[in-house]
């Protein structure tokens, strides 16, 4: 078989399948009734019997359409009502309506069988490479097992050398797992669509590299700019992706949030990039509570939850929906800033607990239900937690803050902070200059020109 034939084979195969040759190929500009016909023909298997007669009115068809189409799928919805329902369901239709119609009426040649010669050659090269990688992977795993089975005194270098070799071999195994799949266009497509299974190393790798691109740099810059690192923790480097949503709207790190919006706790999306389920603690703290007596700023805990399970595939963490009995320690207190005070940094921390470690809620409640004077560092050190994720928003006094404070019985809405007047320590000086010297009646003729005296307000 020549190369040309070999390449054209997949399309020939797909042509041979007795699929319905749709007569309604150009449905883009047709009326609603025509479109209805198209959807019914594509979804039902025996098409000829179910096609409504061409004389049927649009109203007729829309009445019977829901019955004939039980499944609402975002890939095939072409009707207004279908799209609206899908939007309401939270699974918006994919692409444009035009595209969806075109997808249904075209030959659905699978992507990997597209009859382009260079593409097919490229796929062959990549598949050969993948086969090699998989072989290398299996042999490497066998090597690891063999090394694990040998006792340490028979390995040259002893226990330490054996452990080091095992570590590096396992690292190489992980790398090979990623390398086997990194060149697959299907994997890339799935990841771009957000359908990747985060339990697989390749998708985790892709997600992490995407996060390291811009969001990680942004969050590290916010940590630096807003002085989180010396103020809250002595050192910190985020390793998991934390996204924050107020009322389903994603907020950028460091955004100033209206106090009415931040009255309800945000929901978080915590994407971890290493496998396995782990328990985390979530802390929301305000590190800028002004204290007029000591003329300084204090910290306050706005939210604390512990023992929250997080895994690569279950990343959603709505703060309002944590278990009240087993997870919640300190309930949400809305962010508020009194009038005149500088912005409050509300930082959200994800602290990973040790594997198998569950925190004692009663003890936590006893320690932290006071909220004021919360120290993240002491919390972290006391329970041997490691901070992994971070996000931040800020709050300032705005027109809704007084209402929010009243609703939550928070005192201090009538207080306004002002800077204390600082008087100059320099002694007073006599007015100097040409004008100051000519203020006496002797120079009455010059008074017109001696109004501007240095250091005095204009008369």
């Amino acid at each position: 078989m020549s190369t040309c034939q070999r390449v054209a084979r997949p399309i020939a195969r797909s042509m041979r399948q007795d699929r319905v040759a749709l007569s309604f190929a150009r449905t883009f500009s047709r009326s609603a009734a025509r479109k209805e016909e198209v959807t019914t023909t594509t979804t039902n298997t025996p098409p000829a019997s179910q096609v409504p007669p061409p004389s049927s009115t649009a109203a007729d068809v829309t009445k019977e359409a829901p019955a004939s189409q039980p499944k609402l799928t975002p890939d095939t919805a072409t009707q207004y009502w279908e799209e609206i329902r899908l939007f309401k369901k939270g699974t918006p239709p994919v692409g444009s309506r035009r595209r969806r119609v075109a997808m249904q009426t075209s030959e659905n040649v699978p992507f990997e069988q597209m009859p382009y010669q260079c593409f097919q050659e490229a796929r062959r090269v990549l598949q050969e490479d993948r086969k090699e990688k998989l072989q290398a992977l299996s042999s490497e795993i066998a090597k690891v097992k063999r090394l694990e089975a040998t006792p340490a005194d028979q390995v040259p270098g002893g226990e330490a050398k054996k452990n080091m070799r095992l570590r590096s071999m396992k690292k190489w195994v992980e790398e090979l797992k990623i390398l086997a799949d990194i060149n697959d266009p299907i994997v890339k497509r799935k990841f771009e669509d957000g359908l990747g299974d985060m339990d697989k190393p390749i998708y985790r790798h892709l997600a992490e590299s995407k996060w390291r691109g811009y969001p990680f740099r942004l969050i590290t810059q916010r940590i630096e700019q807003l002085k989180i690192v010396p103020d809250v923790l002595p050192k910190f480097e985020p390793t998991v992706d934390v996204q924050m949503f107020f009322r389903q709207r994603k907020t950028t790190p460091g955004e100033i949030i209206d106090s009415r919006i931040s009255e309800k706790p945000p929901s978080l999306k915590v994407q971890v990039f290493n496998p396995g389920e782990r328990l985390v603690s979530v802390v929301v703290m305000d590190s800028d509570v002004p204290n007029a007596e000591t003329d300084s700023f204090e910290r306050r805990c706005h939210y604390l939850a512990a023992n929250v399970p997080i895994s690569p595939n279950s990343s959603s963490l709505p703060l309002s929906k944590v278990n009240k009995d087993t997870q919640l320690v300190v309930p949400w207190l809305p962010a508020f800033a009194q009038k005149g005070a500088p912005y409050h940094r509300m930082s959200i921390w994800i602290l990973e607990q040790k594997p198998g470690q569950t925190l004692d809620l009663a003890k936590l409640k006893e320690l932290y239900s006071g909220r004021d004077g919360f120290s993240l560092k002491s919390f972290k050190d006391k329970f041997t937690l490691s901070p992994v994720g971070f996000n931040i928003f800020r709050s300032v006094w705005d027109e809704g803050t007084a209402d929010v404070m009243e609703r939550w019985n928070l005192p201090g809405a009538d207080v306004e902070f002002k800077h204390a007047r600082v008087y100059s320590l320099k002694p007073e000086k006599k007015a100097r200059g040409w004008e100051a010297k000519r203020q006496k009646p002797k120079y009455k003729s010059l008074w017109k020109y001696t109004k501007r005296i240095r250091g005095m307000p204009r008369r």
Partner: protein, 196 residues
């Protein structure tokens, strides 16, 4: 700006024309010139170009072309300065590829396969070179350890093999290659007494 001076200008411009432009055409052009200098510049350029390329332009033809130009106005051709800039500064970054999803994915696939192929070729070449170097090294080692022909002691063959006699002759390597090419100048920058 008078008509006579314009006429002299045009007679200078049309180098290869046998007959001067008809007076009507000149007058028309002069009227455009009086109205707006920019339009005049545009009206001038086609005439100029034509006069160089055409061997015997009929006056009626020139008349027609100028008429067309005037009708079209000044917006139909970009500024010659911009054109000149574009020609002299080609953009450094090529225009981005604008592909639909599947096409982009196919492109990506081919690109990845090409990168993979290149990497494999490179590794293969490196491996081959390393193998050659290693075999040469082991051959030299073997020479160093054998005691030479006849009564020669151990290492004689190696010493002979390492001799560079005749390597830098005429038509062989240039003598400059006997020294490593370095980034900083030597302490003695130029040996004036050197002869081949």
């Amino acid at each position: 700006m008078s008509t006579s001076s314009l006429r002299s200008l045009f007679s200078g411009l049309s180098l290869s024309t046998t007959t001067p432009l008809s007076s009507t055409a000149c007058q028309r052009i002069s009227s455009t010139l009086v109205r707006s200098p920019t339009a005049a510049a545009i009206a001038l350029t086609p005439l100029q170009r034509r006069s160089f390329s055409f061997t015997s332009p009929a006056p009626a033809k020139a008349d027609k072309s100028s008429k067309k130009k005037r009708k079209k106005g000044k917006g139909d051709e970009p500024d010659p300065r911009i054109q000149n800039l574009k020609v002299s500064n080609p953009r450094k970054v090529p225009a981005p590829l604008r592909f639909a999803r599947n096409r982009a994915l196919r492109h990506w696939t081919i690109h990845r396969a090409w990168l993979l192929f290149q990497r494999k070729e490179r590794e293969r070449e490196e491996k081959e070179l390393a193998r050659l170097y290693q075999s040469m090294h082991s051959a030299c080692e073997e020479l160093r350890q054998t005691s030479g022909p006849g009564t020669q002691d151990e290492g004689y063959l190696y010493r002979v093999a390492m001799e560079k006699k005749g390597v830098f002759k005429h038509h062989n390597f240039p003598i400059e290659y006997a020294r490593p090419q370095v980034e900083t100048p030597a302490r003695e920058p130029w040996n004036h007494g050197w002869t081949r």
